[in-house]
Amino acid sequence: MFKYKTSYRTDGGIGLNDFKWTWRGLSLVSIAATLLLVIGFIYAARDIMSPRGTSYSVEAPQNTAAPAEESGILKVAAVGDSLAKGTGDNTGEGFVRRAVAGLSADGTKTELIGNLGINGLTTAGLRDKLKEEGVQYVLRQANIILVSIGGNDLFQGAQRMLNETEGGTDASRKAASGSAEVQAGSGGSEGAAVGRAAVPGGGSSENAGLKDLNPEQLLTSLPSASKRLEEILSSISDINPQARIYYIGLYNPFGDLREMLIPGNQAVTSWNNAAMDIINRNTGMTLVPTLDLFNGHLGKYLSSDHFHPNGDGYQRMADRIVQAIR
């Protein structure tokens, strides 16, 4: 250190000759770098403050080509609501991953292309999602498409009418904000999913909410929702005509409440019938029934939110799906 100190004191003295070239290089490089950086800064400031606004001219290439080549590999994609996502399953697998595991159990090569399940999605929401390029891309890569949708339409009943203008996400956000009434009344999977921690104490308010949920109300949304379901299924098969579509039927999550058992079963059955009707009119689609899997065993197969299946429930659904695919 001491040696260095002596050399700082004088600017023309010892040591500096050695640095002549270092200094030249250093100053030139740093001046050039500074100039470049200043140009970059000015350029950036101009670009951000007054963007040129020339939109990306290259048209979105439609990668319709390359639907999964038939090589014996099962490529599974899932779209839909919280059931597709696997809400309520402590392992987070849901029926999608469990079905994939079931399919590959005997050595069939099975890939999960993507699980696009979104909590609280309704038929209207899914219909809009299917217009997205990314979603279509995922569906095009698959040869087995699992669809789970409708539960939120059916069980939101009257609540959904109120929130019609606000749209699905608002409704679910409302439910998520912690109002037990909305959660129970709408039966929205969203509210149920988020409120899992909060809900167990709220059994009485759940009953109160459910009293308003009479079968007529459950069914008011059926005609329009089943029409949307038809649009969804046919647009999926337009997106990927080669894939087989498996629609997961609804079950009645409120069967353990005496006043909801019969009306709930009726509503779910008419929904499933409407879905069956659509599916029968199209080739390449299959309905996987689940009503019988849960009826009478709700305590065993539903998670603590009283709406979504638990791990065992999802396993039963997955077994069904595997049977349908094979």
Binding site: Y4, K5, Y8, R9, D11, G12, L16, F19, T22, W23, L26, S27, V29, S30, I31, A33, T34, L36, L37, V38, I39, G40, F41, Y43, A44, A45, D47, I48, M49, P51, R52, G53, T54, S55, Y56, A60, P61, N63, E111, I113, G114, N115, G117, I118, N119, E132, E133, G134, V135, Y137, V138, Q141, S172, R173, A176, S177, G178, E190, A193, V194
Partner: protein, 329 residues
């Protein structure tokens, strides 16, 4: 002016002699491979999961973010961030452009983006913090001031030398990151398109001004913004170095300010007047990539203005103090 040039040269030589710049290079050479390796591992894992198709991966990312939006446990400003992210990624998907095309250039872009508010300022402090206080600690300041040179010239030469090294530090951060990550990800990718011009208004993103630029152009703008931030940080550290007698104290003061900045940007959205603090405004590249600013009401002109004022004031204070103060110690 004639007498200023040798002084600047003298100061540059001191910085080199003290090996500060080598320490910075060494830090880069040690850390960048670590980041590269981490990035490589996560890329490998995603490739296994998504059969090397970035579109599937991106769509899954979008879906996951959409799902997290409905959770009530997530603070509102994170949701805003995610909504913006979803819309931008959607835009990339719609235009069939991979936002994370794996290459050394993309890695460097991300690395610089993440280092603008803490890592690069820290490296600049390594040079700036002892540039004046170091002379006082060792006592060499007396030698410097007994020569027939005006005090402001001495200080000016130190400042210019510092600014020269600021540019060198940014360029070497870029070069080291590019050269090392290129070993793992390849050296191409300068022409890959990047979208910029996302204009945010609350939750929604205005796509009307979005345009694509080649990645090299994006990085030119990015490093330009980093340069501006670095100059301001350098000037502030310079002032602190003038004000404090010991190098350690001046490093601690600047470090505290910078770290406070990163903490504040994560939680200060409720305290809106924090936006006048310099350390909250360091993330200028966010305006380029279209990430939401930490506090509402911040924009690029605003941040540039705030940073400029802080920078100018610190220069004024530095010169006022340095030319007036008795150097006795």
């Amino acid at each position: 002016m004639n007498s200023l040039l040798p002084l600047i040269r003298n100061e540059c030589m001191k910085i080199i002699k003290k090996k500060r710049f080598y320490v910075i290079l060494l830090i880069l050479v040690v850390l960048v491979p670590m980041f590269t390796y981490a990035q490589m591992r996560s890329a490998e894992r995603n490739r296994a999961k998504f059969s090397s198709d970035w579109r599937l991966e991106l769509q899954q990312q979008i879906t996951d973010n959409e799902n997290s939006l409905s959770s009530s446990r997530i603070p509102e400003e994170w949701k805003t961030y995610r909504r913006v992210f979803i819309q931008q990624m959607q835009y990339y998907l719609d235009h069939d452009v991979n936002p994370n095309e794996p290459s050394g250039v993309t890695f460097t872009r991300e690395f610089l983006d993440n280092s603008i508010s803490l890592f690069i300022p820290l490296m600049i402090m390594a040079v700036a913090s002892d540039i004046v206080s170091g002379e006082r600690t060792t006592g060499t300041i007396k030698m410097l001031l007994t020569r027939p040179v005006k005090r402001w010239k001495v200080l000016m030469s130190k400042m210019i030398a510092l600014l020269m090294f600021v540019s060198l530090i940014i360029v070497s951060a870029f070069l080291v990151s590019y050269l090392i990550s290129g070993l793992a990800f390849g050296y191409s990718g300068f022409n890959a398109p990047v979208f910029t011009g996302f204009q945010l208004s609350g939750d929604s993103v205005d796509m009307s001004a979005v345009h694509s630029v080649p990645q090299w152009e994006y990085m030119l703008m990015q490093t330009g913004l980093i340069w501006f931030v670095s100059v301001v940080v350098a000037l502030l550290a310079f002032m602190v170095s003038v004000l404090f007698r010991s190098t350690a104290a001046s490093i601690v003061v600047m470090m505290a300010a910078l770290i406070a900045g990163t903490i504040l940007t994560n939680m200060a959205s409720a305290w809106t007047s924090a936006k006048y603090l310099f350390m909250v405004n360091l993330g200028l590249t966010n305006y380029l990539s279209g990430s939401p600013a930490p506090i509402e009401g911040m924009s690029l002109p605003f941040s540039i203005a705030v940073l400029s004022i802080w920078g100018i004031v610190s220069v004024i204070i530095s010169f006022a103090v340095f030319t007036k103060r008795d150097i006795l110690n």
